[in-house]
């Protein structure tokens, strides 16, 4: 039982027990944060594992959400067993198309292209009749799994989201130690060496990009079902930026970093938006958030997850680290 495993088990146990302690607002808030955690995990696969800095993750999130609303029949609850995969597939398809075009570019240009393609999706939803315009669209009837699981009930939604989060986390944990995952890690560190060794890196990156988009679509689906409402802001680049902040705040290169970062970011937002603390200035909460983002990126090079290591290094100095067995980093 490593410290990491204990930490994770503790987190999931706390999440499972949370509804007992929290009221409706608390349950709704943590459901939302868990959805953002799934979104953050999807981006962690791209940025932290493969080294692909994507500034357009919100597009896949939004497409998953809009698909949930647009594909649901008007007058009856859709069956979850086909609606969920359909939404995930829709997001994954857009990711495949964007990835195919963007992955030929590198570095800053890749960041720019992904942002641009996300904006494209945003404008499709914002301007054309397809997306219902700036007003957004309502989900009339939430999907269900027969009589047992009605996602209209907050507690059922909470439990379902928690299950999805746990599954996504477990899937990524398994994926990252598989040959595919190890290859992605190698591509992040030195793509040239991977190519010289015999790995065709483009298919690997495209697969990671598509998978990441599909997972973001899952998060979007959950969001649409939870709120029963979607609007173009779900595809805004501010959300793309926020997810990036989440994973760097939590700690890049660690799955639990995405989890920690989503919660930390949500708490930061709640803090700066709180009128109880800031009074009238709370409506300018972007200022505090912006400064917090700058400070955390500058001051927390390894994120929150890396804080214990940072402190330990400062206390112990670097002596004694040479020649010690190294972990494979998760």
């Amino acid at each position: 039982m490593t410290p990491k495993t204990i930490f994770l088990l503790g987190c999931f146990a706390a999440l499972a027990l949370w509804p007992l302690a929290a009221g409706p607002y608390g349950i709704d808030l943590v459901t939302k944060i868990m959805i953002y955690a799934i979104l953050a995990l999807s981006l962690e696969l791209l940025v932290g594992t493969t080294g692909l800095v994507c500034f357009g993750q919100a597009a896949f999130f939004g497409i998953g959400a809009y698909a949930a609303v647009l594909l649901s029949p008007q007058s009856e609850a859709a069956a979850l067993w086909w609606l969920l995969p359909a939404c995930v597939a829709a997001a994954g398809l857009y990711a495949l198309a964007v990835g195919a075009l963007s992955l030929r570019t590198r570095g800053v240009y890749f960041i720019m292209v992904t942002l641009a393609f996300a904006q494209m999706a945003y404008y499709v939803v914002h301007d054309t009749p397809l997306g219902g315009g700036t007003d957004g669209i309502y989900l009339m009837m939430k999907p269900a799994v027969g009589p047992w699981l009605d996602l209209d009930k907050p507690l059922a939604m909470y439990g379902f989201t928690l299950a999805c989060l746990a599954l996504v986390f477990a899937f990524l944990a398994v994926l990252l130690r598989s040959p595919f995952g190890r290859a992605l890690a190698g591509i992040r560190i030195n793509e040239q060496r991977m190519r010289a060794t015999g790995f065709s890196t483009y298919p690997y990156k495209l697969a990671a990009f598509t998978l990441s988009g599909a997972m973001a679509g899952l998060a979007g689906f959950l969001f649409a079902v939870k709120d029963g409402f979607v609007n173009p802001e779900l595809l805004s680049w501010h959300l793309s930026g926020a997810v990036l902040v989440m994973i760097i705040l939590g700690g890049l290169g660690h799955l639990r970093g995405a989890l920690v970062g989503a919660f930390a970011f949500a708490l930061l937002q709640e803090f700066f938006q709180s009128e109880a603390i800031f009074g009238a200035a709370a409506k300018h909460w972007h200022l505090g958030l912006g400064l917090a983002i700058i400070a955390s990126v500058a001051g927390l090079p390894r994120g929150l997850v890396g804080l214990p290591g940072q402190w330990r290094e400062r206390l112990m100095g670097r002596a004694g680290r040479r020649g010690l067995p190294a972990g494979q980093g998760r």
Partner: protein, 250 residues
């Protein structure tokens, strides 16, 4: 004449108006070390890049194991048996020595679809990795973090990663760069041991090492070959003496 494993014919590479490599032909035979020497900017690195497939030639062709691979991208050539080490270290510093070799060996049997399998459970990949590390002299350092190795050990690891894919041709770009006397001896012994079974192209600046280990020598100046033959022949070549070795080198 032994088996020709890699052949470059009339290879040319132009960048805008500059001709970096000018109609160079080169052959690598199994069981031989073919050294490539030349002044800085002579085009040696470009030639190696053309042979390994990092970019395509402006003219000319590359044949690997009898096949024309001129249009093949680098990963495909690597999978077909062409290994390459770099002048600067391209090891993965945050992984262990074993993981570096294991990941390199994975290129042979990539199994990307098996998302549920633990990469470390693949015994043949691990075996290939251990063997490559042992051949490169790193059998005792398998669990060390690669970034914390000494410079000489890192260069050994660079070779080990090359060997992990069981290539038949080795393109080695200055493997001795930055090494002290003892490390150089170890590396030369390693290279001598690799001769049997492999065709090796060695780009080097250390003349003593080159003359000790090379079976053939090609000299490049300004992108073109000015001499090629056995080390003895090349040493006596007047053009080479004038251009590169300096008149008095004997």
């Amino acid at each position: 004449m032994g088996e020709i494993l890699l052949r470059g014919r009339e290879l040319t590479r132009r960048w805008g108006g500059v001709v970096a490599v000018d109609r160079v032909s080169i052959e690598l035979e199994r069981g031989q070390v073919h050294a490539l020497i030349g002044t800085n900017g002579a085009g040696k690195s470009t030639l190696i890049n053309l042979l390994s497939g990092e970019f395509p030639p402006s003219a000319g062709s590359v044949e690997l194991l009898g096949q024309d691979v001129s249009a093949w991208p680098q990963p495909r050539r690597a999978r077909a048996g062409l290994g390459r080490s770099y002048q600067r270290n391209t090891i993965f510093p945050s992984f262990t020595v074993l993981e570096n070799c294991r990941l390199a060996a994975q290129a042979r049997r990539q199994r990307a679809w098996a998302w549920w399998r633990d990469a470390n459970a693949c015994t043949d990949t691990l075996a290939a990795a251990r063997e490559a590390a042992a051949r490169a002299g790193l059998a005792d350092q398998l669990q060390y973090q690669a970034g914390l190795l000494s410079h000489g050990q890192k260069r050994q690891l660079e070779i080990a990663m090359c060997l992990a894919t069981a290539p038949q041709v080795l393109l080695l770009d200055e493997p001795l760069a930055g090494m002290g006397a003892e490390e150089t001896e170890r590396m030369l012994a390693l290279l001598a041991g690799l001769k049997a079974g492999h065709a090796i192209l060695l780009v080097e600046h250390d003349m003593d090492a080159v003359f000790r280990i090379a079976d053939r020598l090609t000299v490049m100046v300004n992108g073109a070959v000015i001499a090629s033959g056995s080390p003895g022949e090349v040493r006596l070549n007047a053009d080479v003496q004038a251009a590169y070795l300096g008149g008095g080198h004997g």
